[in-house]
Symmetry: D2
Amino acid sequence: MTGSGYDPRIMIPRYTPDDFAQLWSPAEKYRTWLEVELAACAALERAGIVPEGVAERIEAQDLTLDPDRIGEIERTVKHDVIAFLTHVEELAGEDARWLHYGMTSSDVLDTSLALLMVRAADAITTRLDDLVMALTQRVEEHRRTPLMGRSHGIHAEPTTFGLALAGHLAEVKRGRARWRAARDEIAVGKMAGAVGTYAHLSPEIEADALGRLGLEPETVATQVVARDRHAVYFSALGAIAAGIERFATNVRHWQRTEVGEAEEAFTVGQKGSSAMPHKRNPILSENLCGLARIVRGAVVPALENVALWHERDISHSSVERMIGPDATATAAFMLDRTTRLVKGLVVYPERLDHNLALTGGRCFSEGVLLALVRSGRPRQEAYVVVQRAAMAAFEGKGSFQELLAADEEVKSAMSPEQLAQCFSLDHAIRHADAIIDRVIAAP
Amino acid sequence: MTGSGYDPRIMIPRYTPDDFAQLWSPAEKYRTWLEVELAACAALERAGIVPEGVAERIEAQDLTLDPDRIGEIERTVKHDVIAFLTHVEELAGEDARWLHYGMTSSDVLDTSLALLMVRAADAITTRLDDLVMALTQRVEEHRRTPLMGRSHGIHAEPTTFGLALAGHLAEVKRGRARWRAARDEIAVGKMAGAVGTYAHLSPEIEADALGRLGLEPETVATQVVARDRHAVYFSALGAIAAGIERFATNVRHWQRTEVGEAEEAFTVGQKGSSAMPHKRNPILSENLCGLARIVRGAVVPALENVALWHERDISHSSVERMIGPDATATAAFMLDRTTRLVKGLVVYPERLDHNLALTGGRCFSEGVLLALVRSGRPRQEAYVVVQRAAMAAFEGKGSFQELLAADEEVKSAMSPEQLAQCFSLDHAIRHADAIIDRVIAAP
Amino acid sequence: MTGSGYDPRIMIPRYTPDDFAQLWSPAEKYRTWLEVELAACAALERAGIVPEGVAERIEAQDLTLDPDRIGEIERTVKHDVIAFLTHVEELAGEDARWLHYGMTSSDVLDTSLALLMVRAADAITTRLDDLVMALTQRVEEHRRTPLMGRSHGIHAEPTTFGLALAGHLAEVKRGRARWRAARDEIAVGKMAGAVGTYAHLSPEIEADALGRLGLEPETVATQVVARDRHAVYFSALGAIAAGIERFATNVRHWQRTEVGEAEEAFTVGQKGSSAMPHKRNPILSENLCGLARIVRGAVVPALENVALWHERDISHSSVERMIGPDATATAAFMLDRTTRLVKGLVVYPERLDHNLALTGGRCFSEGVLLALVRSGRPRQEAYVVVQRAAMAAFEGKGSFQELLAADEEVKSAMSPEQLAQCFSLDHAIRHADAIIDRVIAAP
Amino acid sequence: MTGSGYDPRIMIPRYTPDDFAQLWSPAEKYRTWLEVELAACAALERAGIVPEGVAERIEAQDLTLDPDRIGEIERTVKHDVIAFLTHVEELAGEDARWLHYGMTSSDVLDTSLALLMVRAADAITTRLDDLVMALTQRVEEHRRTPLMGRSHGIHAEPTTFGLALAGHLAEVKRGRARWRAARDEIAVGKMAGAVGTYAHLSPEIEADALGRLGLEPETVATQVVARDRHAVYFSALGAIAAGIERFATNVRHWQRTEVGEAEEAFTVGQKGSSAMPHKRNPILSENLCGLARIVRGAVVPALENVALWHERDISHSSVERMIGPDATATAAFMLDRTTRLVKGLVVYPERLDHNLALTGGRCFSEGVLLALVRSGRPRQEAYVVVQRAAMAAFEGKGSFQELLAADEEVKSAMSPEQLAQCFSLDHAIRHADAIIDRVIAAP
């Protein structure tokens, strides 16, 4: 039996924040293993099983573990934890025989994995906080900056740029709340021995050791901590990534040449295309859309990891060694990039206005429809009247508002002033502040 | 623009509980739409926009909507909500023109979808409760029924059948807690108009209308309720399904001919194979493993649904029409089947005992190892001593305990009595009650 | 043991073509089972195992099987094939006892499933042929209709509308070639008995029976035909769906208000929005994007189905009962819808021209860059010169071409005529015909 | 715009064969880019666009590109190909300005990616060949070694160990055939400029350049080679991985303590468990099951990469940078490990015999059933007779054969000799050779 869920993966530098490269490094892994072994040893001492002072003496030696040496031993014993323990015995001497007393590898591995996944979670939560702050600021800035709302990519009714961002803010906040819950679910270790029965340990020793590490004990362990906890962790990451994908998709739309409403910051010296010097492309946003596929791609393997055989098999381990570092580091990278993108996003108010005017007021068609209904028209009849004018305008037969003004049915239903009132931008976005206040107040 | 997220799907009868066939039927869909329209209408009346009495008068007519007629109209207008409204106008007369006032289709569709998804959630929670009860009973029954614990399919150390079931119980309880959270996240409707700005409505009207329906308003809506809520709902279902898969996988192992420790109930008249009359197969469990793939298969499409364009596109709708009924009904079916499976599971204590004895005590090797460590041996040296005896026993050179008893290093480290004490089943499972009490007490 | 891979699923009418509703109906399923049993029986007769004339006599009775009666029997025996055989015995009398001789259920089920999947494949190939024809026609029509090419949603260099369609045509043709290969891989049946050993049959009998059905025998069967064949079939469907998604995504872009280059046909009486009478939305294309998620969602479950235990378990069956009809019918529906979309697509040449002119010639920047290189400038220096003018034009400081004409470095490198030649649309698209001829000629 | 589909990822050493670490290294990436640029340059020379001798002169310099320096430049220009070209200009001097003439980054990137993916494909095909050889040898060795066939984990009818392996051999061969097709589909480059129109190049130049590299031109390129080609490549890998998962799952079953029919080779010095010295676990097979999830996890992201916007967006690139190296290296690692596993697999014939005898002949029940049918009994009646004896035997009421021998209905239908003939192992596996010859002969 070897390993569990994480590895000295040297990750793709392009998409790995430094703290995550450090967190998932071999050195940090073995440091964490020793931390867990010593916490267990101290608890065993307090329980009178291991002689007093062992943990303290080893801790005092401040051992520097050598990943290469551990790798060398592993090539013979084909078991990473045994290789690690053998190396610790080499360095720490006789006391080391008390390490791992009554424990199985997974006691160390799963508890260590929990520590690393909790630390990854916290580092991601910090980034979610940053993104919330950045979005909040831009929401405030553009509370009442008018923006053409679009459904199906087609102009619908006006909204504000702040409201569009507020929707993303609300989604990030929801993702953060779920992430905190997932973090708590993974903050669970295990020191229950080979098949979770505490054959040579006890629930009390486990509670003592895990308590020192800031973890809860698994309710009912097998040889391992149950993998639904990990699956849920990766699912929560997948939802965060999907939310970023939604934002990035919108940036890509806003930046496209014909829309031009907002744009990723373009830095001095940057080049958009090797062939075409005129290009300024939303490459950060496109990159974020791709990375969302990667993070989402971890969800199903994590769910497939749940159904381990009997008291455990080790099929989950290789999966976790890869998706553990990859999905967390990629998500952290995505958050860093998104926060910078939000902060640097260049908004073009004149283009926003230009686009609002593009359909000549057709975006106010619903108001006219409702005015006709209020005047006594059945809804579907009123619909036909307004659609007729809109389609005529679409085909270039005149301005929408003028066509309506000339329509006999409209004239008989409302005064020119009443018709004009239907075309009020201020009226359309009068509730923007109330909505935005709601999301700002949300946890 | 048409529809959103659910449909008169007549689902696969084989895997659809009756209540879910009813829940996702066309009739129920249109009934729910009307319920939503009338709640909105009543709120608009209180706000003084719609004349008083409209909602009450329509409600009093107790309309029977005809799905076929609506389908007929939809073939012309290519819009399901307009078809529905047109049909209501046909039946309810002039008052109907006040329905849908200021609303967009998604106000009706997403609010209705929330109602149906909440009802599906509640029907699934009830089933989770049933499964918790069934498992609890069997856990109690088998608290101390000894079972050989296995890692990697290989005999490890003893545990109890109750403990094995307790692990599944703990997982189902975790799944239920997450499911409740997912249910609350989806209990969110929306009456904010075409792009979520309340252009012709107000937050107050929405709160009033949704409150009558038992729903919260979306914090910041676009044209639709944000789809991360739905994605999380399907992810939570996927985790529940994965937990069932783990249980079903274990049943399949327990039942296999060479193991024979537990078996699905085999009913009178049942036939196991068309070719081989002797067969009794764990087909329910295998079926559950397959269905878990289906429920899990909904997770990625649901996550892909999140990144809608601008204020919405309708790509999510067809996905939801299919996975909405399918994933919920299949999960409900899985829970029903699992509960029956748990209740009927036949346990064979004599086979449990037989298998415990199969390796001649090798499952107690850790105790011997630790006794050697306590006697002063370095851990890795002690390991070699015990492994040597175990491998010799594996190769048929004698019983493990006897080989150890004859080993010079063992003899020098402990008395025959001390060695014998290492082979105690009672000692191995002495904490079973404590662990089981923990999961029984868990929420 | 029950069933395999398909079921009397009454599918979602909205997305199911009639021929697929028929293909996957209960009646058709049982008809196919009988077809397979009779083919086997006839082969067994020729082999001298079954008395002559049995198959012919049963065939002559032209039995009408009653799915409800079979369902009734299945509720007792819990085995669908035994229920079917029992019903056939009820109808066909004594001769029926020779049916299923030496066979296991999977001999019938997997052979029948192959027949249905082959028929589904052929029905899909016909639709791929239709789509190829429709695309070919529109490609020819728009061979030289200029279109602004875009990378990253940003104007790049000119191309033609025919070329854009030609890319989709090439992809559909590749999908069709793969689909034919997948069809041949699934055209494999099995009559090898309980564990694939022909214990009571023979390879010769199998070859004879399958040959009558147009199928090949599985090279090495277990109890079932190997599931990698099915996985590859669904993967090939997933790739076809992804190609349609790419096309539909482009239609959505072309139709968006600010682009307006092409549009889904809008039919008489159609209504775009229940709230906004002015809307014309690309809902067919959005729907296709959603359905692609569904078809793609079948791929992973199909791959998970491969690793059956030992000589088989039945976990694959429930998966196939659902994804078999769903993925094939949905893909067929997508193809029908896409073909209609292609045929009806309204192209607006004046908008194409308008958009081509939008950036004032910046789309020709590469030609200027290369002219500078030819004049002796190092490439990266030349890049800076051209980018400078493009960014100034972007910021509204003048037309790109004029800014270049006034640039000292440009002036020193080329004559005004040479500069002007860089801005030739005809030159940019001069190879369109050659490329299009290539795809038209492709198989 | 930056990069495409691969990256200096330093991959997880644990699961990366050396040749794949080399193939996907930064140095190899840039070497391949230069190879492509020079092939293009040579073709441009022959076309008279670039002065003669440039490519040859640069080639003669045998440049050593410095990935760190390129990284440094990229941090300013934010474009990897421009950084690369700038570095080549630094090293190669004035001639370098002719590189990349008329090309866009993707001409280099996608053509290079094709070269690397083809090389990865070939390295995987070689491994598939090795696995085919290893399996073939073990199939031959165990052609007639009897093995209890199992469906649903329950004893069914006898087969042979060679046949079980032959099923895997057939599947690997199918995977290899598909892989060769996928390899040919990806052996496609592109030198068609910014939007695939050859604005400054020509189909002839492209054909010349790609021909030197052993690649075909993309039929209709956009800015990039179409991504359905890549999706199909990863799907084919996913199917190979799923086939390995099936084999590894079977090894896990064969090795489990109660079965004990075959076992992974256990090497000298290996340790099975840190807690339990007696353990010998099928960890290689479990690891292979986990890695299959990883390779399969690349399929959906690859399919999501297909629907790029307009003439391309860059969302696919980050996905390919990660799944390109990961999925190919992991698959190669899986194949290496599987081949070693097959070669070293220890088979225990005495356990095979022991297990065959376990059910006291119940595995021959079908033969008795058919004998009863031949004697004139209706099939379902005969079924009841045989099932009755089998269930009595299962409940310990006697041996299956003896119970049948004592059954009045059996006695009236056949002689004791006829009954005995039903219990022949030789008869059961008489076609093993014929089936195995079929798979050996398969391509």
